[in-house]
Symmetry: C2
Subunit: 672 residues, 2 copies
Amino acid sequence: MSQHLSPDVPVLQPQGSASPSSSAAASPAAVQPLDVQQRLAASRAPLPASTKTYEPGTLFPDLRVPLRDIQLTNGERVAVYDTSGPYTDPAQATDVRRGLPSPRAAWIEARADTEPYTGRPIQLFDDGLREATQQQALRAQTDALTRAPRRARSGGNVTQMHYARRGIITAEMEYVAIRENGRRAWMKEYCADAERESRLRGQGLGATIPGFITPEFVRDEIARGRAILPANINHPELEPMIIGRNFLVKVNANIGNSAVSSGIEEEVEKLVWATRWGADTVMDLSTGRNIHTTRDWIIRNSPVPIGTVPIYQALEKVGGVAEDLTWELFRDTLIEQAEQGVDYFTIHAGVRLPFVPMTVKRRTGIVSRGGSILAKWCIAHHRENFLYTHFEEICEIMKAYDVSFSLGDGLRPGSLADANDEAQFAELRTLGELTKIAWKHDVQTMIEGPGHVPMHMIQANMTEQLKHCDEAPFYTLGPLTTDIAPGYDHITSGIGAAMIGWFGCAMLCYVTPKEHLGLPDRDDVKQGLMAYRIAAHAADIAKGHPAARARDDALSKARFEFRWEDQFNLGLDPETAREFHDETLPKDSAKVAHFCSMCGPKFCSMKITQDVRDYSARLEADGQAATQGRGEAGAEAGAEAGLDAGVAAGMRAKSAEFRAAGSELYIPIQPA
Amino acid sequence: MSQHLSPDVPVLQPQGSASPSSSAAASPAAVQPLDVQQRLAASRAPLPASTKTYEPGTLFPDLRVPLRDIQLTNGERVAVYDTSGPYTDPAQATDVRRGLPSPRAAWIEARADTEPYTGRPIQLFDDGLREATQQQALRAQTDALTRAPRRARSGGNVTQMHYARRGIITAEMEYVAIRENGRRAWMKEYCADAERESRLRGQGLGATIPGFITPEFVRDEIARGRAILPANINHPELEPMIIGRNFLVKVNANIGNSAVSSGIEEEVEKLVWATRWGADTVMDLSTGRNIHTTRDWIIRNSPVPIGTVPIYQALEKVGGVAEDLTWELFRDTLIEQAEQGVDYFTIHAGVRLPFVPMTVKRRTGIVSRGGSILAKWCIAHHRENFLYTHFEEICEIMKAYDVSFSLGDGLRPGSLADANDEAQFAELRTLGELTKIAWKHDVQTMIEGPGHVPMHMIQANMTEQLKHCDEAPFYTLGPLTTDIAPGYDHITSGIGAAMIGWFGCAMLCYVTPKEHLGLPDRDDVKQGLMAYRIAAHAADIAKGHPAARARDDALSKARFEFRWEDQFNLGLDPETAREFHDETLPKDSAKVAHFCSMCGPKFCSMKITQDVRDYSARLEADGQAATQGRGEAGAEAGAEAGLDAGVAAGMRAKSAEFRAAGSELYIPIQPA
């Protein structure tokens, strides 16, 4: 999606500088960096107390929709959305040299509207290489990953939108319906209280999320263009997911190839790591050498949709000289990547020549890498952006493979000062036009958004996008709500991301702590994902997704009941939670202790709450009209009095009883 | 403010467990923990490129209002708000055994309405000790810090609110007016563009921030009760600050004493560290032993207001048995702390007996430590909360020393499930009643707020608080917007804090990554402060504080101009920004290079923007009606065309010229 915002692009390579690989760079937090094998093992072990389970379909009984089941110490099992694919399922042996299993292959074949063909032959410049022997060495690792590409039969259209508009529910659609619902049985306990449900009801702000997602609802949303299901027919390994304002908010993570390819395991590891921590899609922003082959490695091993910015590779092919880009070269690159199985393309077709001068007065000009490339091309040739003029031809390619558009915001603001300006909104309106053209071809489309926007200007971004792009899914980078915290931009942007997610944004592109400063390492990727999973979940709760809040309640209940293990394991990052706890109370016995490390065994507010409950329960058991009394007290809370005489007498008696029973603040602990 | 939310309270001491001190606990991020002396030095060195400067007053010419001047490499100087006190001014020698200088002493004396007196004698149980020799050893470090307390002359009232209501502008009021404005001269360059200022204009949502803060405005806001200036007359070391919705959003950090006091330097160091990273006030939540003497050490060395929760110390004095608390004991503790110079007290007077049973159906009951103590007292005695029944007597103490109320939210929610419930809002309404009583006595008052609140329910908290408490300043903990991320609650709550700050909250109580899990160490305190400084600043921009956005623009300009050093130094955490940059591009030469580590020297979007500027500038220079053409293009951005014929011809000519001049994407770099 982004350029100067993209991580670990191996740009230092030509100068011979030592650019650390994304994963190998020592994190300041990592006291002892793990070696590759340790990292692989760490990324593939199931999370604590977790088991991968699968839900079958109804229309398509063979579906196996993954969920992560967390076993609690009180016997409950909590199932959560799981992006990590087969890697965290010990029952599935994975081999990155052979690729993942292909659950979609049979579905695609059954539709009988595609055919395999001899694809475009791989070329030396696809990998940015000069010697055929270099490429041969690289391809040796890729033998068992090579697949004949498929495409729509002549003149056909194989997009999910095309099926949806003809009333067809695909296997992919039922898959995402099941996935979005999660397993509702365990949630009942947490959604049973009518007063609570009413009090906490979300504010959809125009979203219309049903209580239960049916395959028909999925079909309808895709047909309407309000959601996309990015799923190239050449990516049969995919576990389908959906992006739309009436579904769970999704998160994208960016990865890029290493400066010096350290082999397939290392490159795939970045992907696996990102999906482990909740990346719903991954953008491969690789540049430079080995770009084609690395993409093969990634896609064949990816359970999540892969997005790319094809102009990056096209630019490599012309030696970095933007003016030398041509439509023919770009078109060839689109086909190359579509055959590999890329699920969505960022296309900066809205960077129109007349808009380029609008950026002149900006504080930070054009900061999108794709936007800059195309602006440069436009002014050098004084011609309209070739992506704009050839847009319908691009649609023809997209529909033959079902590649989704991610219409790039090449003129997005690079600072608060430039937020919501003329150039940004001119481009947005153009993206709206292009959306309608794409929809004419039944091509799935989402819209990229900023960037850097102060809090009070975020909602206008969402409103304008919904209006001009007719509710096509919005996919934003942050936005960052202040520019003054380099080193903490996962936080400055996590604030904006949570807000825009609530307002209707469908997918959030993560930002790592290294934003604006350097290439993210393994820990940075995780930090970025944690901030963005928080943002997405906070947004799901605010907009009222029916499957969102139960996990918060389960964790809070565990916290209140001193089930420490459950509190850790229900969290986004069980290992860190446990580690933080253990710094203060390292003994295992502390994890079953009925106190927490903040107040300790001497005094515990949660214990007192239990006393209050016991007290009230005894009042109730005695048949006192306690409820009534409480109601009055609540109604006239401002008044001096509070309890009626009967209740007061009862409570006084109970008070004595409670003291007699020993209202000790020191809680005895069992010896370890 | 909080209990289970309070950091490093040495609660494990009675069991003999080894509780690490707040600062001494090894951070996972700290490869080599610093020793005390290194920490002291690190906390006192000025931030990079920074110099402490002072602004004088007009009404009070002797005022020295601190600002941190950041020297940029292009000659500009940017002055920013500075909470760090004399510690970061090498011209001021500080000695924690003697305490800070007392700028306020002369102002207080000049008002001639207070008098020194022989204070309450220190008692053994003030420090939680049994042996006089223990206390004597402790007090030995405190000799040079001992001051005779002052109080209002008989029957007098020395609160800033009392002066304000009589039309008096105090030195403290002019001080904060100057401090809030900052130094406007440098901001002009960043606020000059009318289009930008209009586009980015904040949304006050009811706040009425003037373009320039006058001492009279400060007086009026304090008189109205809409702001407080917490400044005990026994804290003359204070650098005054103001808390109110029409001022900069403030941040509080909590600290606590170590389990085993490691001496005055170590205890004061926590305070210094917190103010270095932007704590506007600090709450001392110490419990257990040495609590009185530690407080002496902290206040005498604190340039920021100190808040406490006196019920914590009162509970210590009765051996942790809540039922044994009495009004007399509590009153004595208030006087003890008021004499020491505590600037604001958290008083949980809203935890009324009739409200306690309202918490029974909650997911997480009563999570406030203060709230729990008082709930327990109420149900054990079946009597109304003695803080409520004696509230006017408390006011009498507050006004004799000018201690401000921070009315505690003892019934705040401890989980999303309990947000905005009957108990919480019943208490809030009571806090509104109490505010009016406090105001009757001219006692400055702010209101504490939650806690755990989903995003869509945050605004209701602010609205209810403004309504019931008549715009008295709101002071919230977060709120956390989801419960599912233990280990990352500085982020879950930073989102809520930014939003409620925009909506009108005056001060944000920070949350560290260790929230709910353990005791924060030095790095956690910094992480919490960074998240909250971001939240406060993002809120200031959104609500349109006139002195907020210039720093963002200065940093963005530095970023765009590849002034790496300036980008680091203008950020909230220059050291981390530099460290992150150096991981990728460690050489000093890279800090003057005209490229960034994301795209590298090969391709740079910011360089292309310069090309666009050059291109447009040449068009303009040739007298083409470029502006006009752009205007049209913008107006009909949706249209196919874009440029009028004249502009198009001019641009075509310029295009050729630009190419001839060499439109190379590879930017030559100078050898290192």
